[in-house]
Symmetry: C2
Subunit: 192 residues, 2 copies
């Protein structure tokens, strides 16, 4: 599983492709590999060689965001109040998922094409779980909701905000925060 370092030109092309992928995601353009190739001034085969499917490219585009989220979660784990730490982290995560369109599809997808992403997602799930368990231990969260539920719940909140007809991105973000508030209240409420 040790990766041979890419040749210089290959690295450059790969980088270009990811950049274009990022741009497409930000613009809401669907990722079509032929289209990406054109925009990156690269042969179609080059794109397909690096990323066999649109999802694979999406995952790579999403990776930095997921990593940032993971570090954030690690920091949150050192917070003193379990509930506050969980809550603040989830708000940050929601904002990230709304802002960066590449993240929620990757999150929601069952399995991943890329080993790196799989590992990253696993790490995040574990971190989510630890944050939740701390809250459980402090008696601050409904014990009926488990590790396996937190990521889906987040996806649900984001999905709800996405479905809702909203004029601007800010509106959507505000809705997501309100929905998260409801869910958090439900999580905590049941514990009492």
């Amino acid at each position: 599983m040790t990766t041979v370092p890419l040749r210089k030109d290959a690295a450059r092309n790969r980088h270009r492709i990811v950049e274009v992928g990022r741009r497409f995601v930000d613009e809401g353009t669907p990722i079509q590999l032929n289209e990406v190739a054109r925009a990156a001034s690269v042969g179609v085969a080059t794109v397909y060689r690096h990323f066999p499917t649109p999802e694979a490219l999406l995952e790579t585009v999403a990776a930095p965001g997921l990593e940032a989220l993971a570090s954030h979660a690690e920091q949150a784990l050192s917070g003193d109040d379990a509930w506050t730490a969980l809550r603040d982290f989830l708000f940050a995560a929601t904002d990230a998922l709304i802002t960066d369109a590449s993240m929620s599809p990757v999150f929601a997808a069952a399995a991943s094409t890329l080993a790196h992403t799989t590992e990253l997602k696993q790490r995040l799930v574990t971190l989510f779980g630890q944050l939740l368990d701390r809250a459980h231990a402090a008696g601050a969260a409904d014990p009926g909701v488990t590790q396996a539920d937190l990521v889906p719940l987040m996806c649900g909140v984001v999905h709800a905000a996405t479905v809702r007809p909203a004029a601007t991105d800010a509106d959507r973000a505000a809705a997501a925060r309100r929905y998260l508030t409801v869910v958090l209240e439900g999580l905590r409420g049941h514990a009492r």
Copy 2:
């Protein structure tokens, strides 16, 4: 907007097509119009004439379920306790959305191709709103959550349960009910 009654053969074909559409939805097969034509022993053009897009067919497939939901909501409105009526109805709605795969996409879609569906959705949103308003009036629900939020929240709950890796449909339904419980708790909790 008065619709001319279909010719006998046209009605038969249309019916066949919808039937096949229903089957595809139940089997989780993606609705491809050419494929539907083959399965319905009908020319491609016939399918396209009745349903210009897969979504249009999906809407028609979903319509009976949406209608059932609407009548259920109307019944719920005559319940004596506002909160109980809302809660029971939302549980029933969640079950329906999980069971019938045609409903949530139609629900989540912003606009509809079909006039009938548009009207039906509008009716449902109104009914949801009335149920929620009764709960508001009874001081049983967070006033920060409005009419425009209820449908998205339902979509979110269903989405969360769909995303969650689950062995069986029953698991998924159970998860959805748990998530709805959390949301309801959050809705009610904030009101107090």
